[in-house]
Amino acid sequence: MAPSSALALELDLEPFAGPFDLLLALVLRDALDLGEVPVADVCLAYLADLEAAGEMDLESASEFLVLVAALLELKIRLLLAPDEVDDMPDAQEAAEELAARLAEYARVQAAARWLEERLAATGPRLFRDGPPALRPPRPVLDDAGTGDPQALAGALADVMARSREEAEPIHVLRRRLPLLRLLDHVRRVVSERGSCSFDEAVRGLDRGEQAAAFWAVLDLVRGGEVAVTQSEPFGPIRMRAAHAAHDHATGAAA
């Protein structure tokens, strides 16, 4: 039985582990090939992949934008004064910082590869994590009063305080909603019933999941799969399968 959270946690955007990975792959490419690599297209493809995988979170997207911005700044300065880039401290600094970080990251990748190869070479090494099935006969230990109950109270206060901290914006960021499943769920409900209200479709889901389901509905509308009507503000939202509207919707989006 896999731990329940393992699946959600293992999501990883292959083949790139992050923006540095992507940039480094581009930088390390043979210089001759560089002209053939449309950086902007690759960047957009990367973001699109993130979104498609339901992994578009603000943190990774914004880290990525910072890098693209650094690249753009380099380029802009090159355009302004192509021959003087080395004399421009700002451009130089930006390039140096980015280069230093990428070079450091390249070594981390090499270390990660080493670990991966090590794991493959040593094979699965299995040992018992906990106590054995049977314990030896055991004398009663004279350990009364060696623990400090206040340490327990302190530890629990830490746990509770941490949970309070995380209930702030971080909590929202870390919450992983099953967007793709909700998308499928809404799609299935609408296609099975032909037409239903949003409230019916999300019955049984909690608030966060309902919000995500609403996002799913918007996405289906955008994709032309579902049409929605709402007769008045805060009124019930009716959804229906929109095969007829499909061509029109995709035509507008293109």
């Binding site: 329940s4 906990g130 054995p132 030896p136 870390r174």
Partner: protein, 205 residues
């Protein structure tokens, strides 16, 4: 049955945290039960008292390895020492959760602490500070854990849970263990969606 079959059965018995019967051994080893029985014969000899420090024993639910009686004192000293090492922060937090909110399951501990609790739970089991206490009736029926009498002795809690000190949370005292417990249970429930594998809700709807 080959020599290797015997070694594989030996490895299984070493690794298992509970006794294994012939069926379970055969399934895991990918051999027949008759082969398992022959392997057990070989291992009974190899792990006889006086031949090895680890003896093979038949118990109600199957076969298990156990430290030999001649090593009992050394084992007690080792466990004593392990128990007296300072608890890691993760283990102390886990112990606190079990003490105040127990019986609780591993997933609930993970939700309250915000990180998985597998290793701290193992370490507390090993120190004899917590023990299994049946199964939860939640989906998946996870094992429940509670603190032991040893825990009460180590922490000198004469009235068990009711001797636990109040929690000073942001200057506000949560007086009784019952209030702390209900707060923790609420925390576990609140965190449920973010940590549990998403999806069942959507699928069951």
């Amino acid at each position: 049955m080959t020599d290797q079959d015997a070694r594989v059965v030996e490895a299984l018995l070493f690794l298992a945290s509970e006794p294994l019967d012939e069926r379970a051994l055969a399934d895991a080893a990918g051999i027949g039960e008759a082969d398992v029985e022959e392997a057990i014969e070989v291992l009974l000899e190899r792990h006889a008292p006086g031949a090895s420090g680890v003896v093979l024993e038949r118990v109600a639910s199957g076969w298990a390895l156990r430290a030999a009686d001649e090593a009992a004192l050394a084992c007690a000293r080792l466990l004593d020492r392990l128990a007296q090492r300072p608890l890691s922060k993760a283990a102390l937090e886990t112990l606190a959760v079990v003490a105040y909110a127990g019986p609780v399951s591993r997933p609930e501990i993970a939700r309250i602490r915000g990180v998985a609790a597998d290793n701290p739970v193992q370490s507390l089991l090993e120190r004899g500070l917590i023990e299994e206490a049946g199964r939860s009736d939640r989906p998946g029926q996870p094992l429940l854990y509670r603190t032991t009498t040893r825990f009460e002795r180590v922490f000198a809690l004469e009235e068990g849970r009711h001797s636990l000190p109040p929690i000073d949370e942001l200057g506000e005292d949560l007086p009784g263990p019952d209030e702390v417990r209900s707060r923790l249970v609420a925390m576990a429930a609140e965190q449920a969606v973010s940590i549990e594998e998403p999806g069942p809700a959507a699928e069951s709807a």
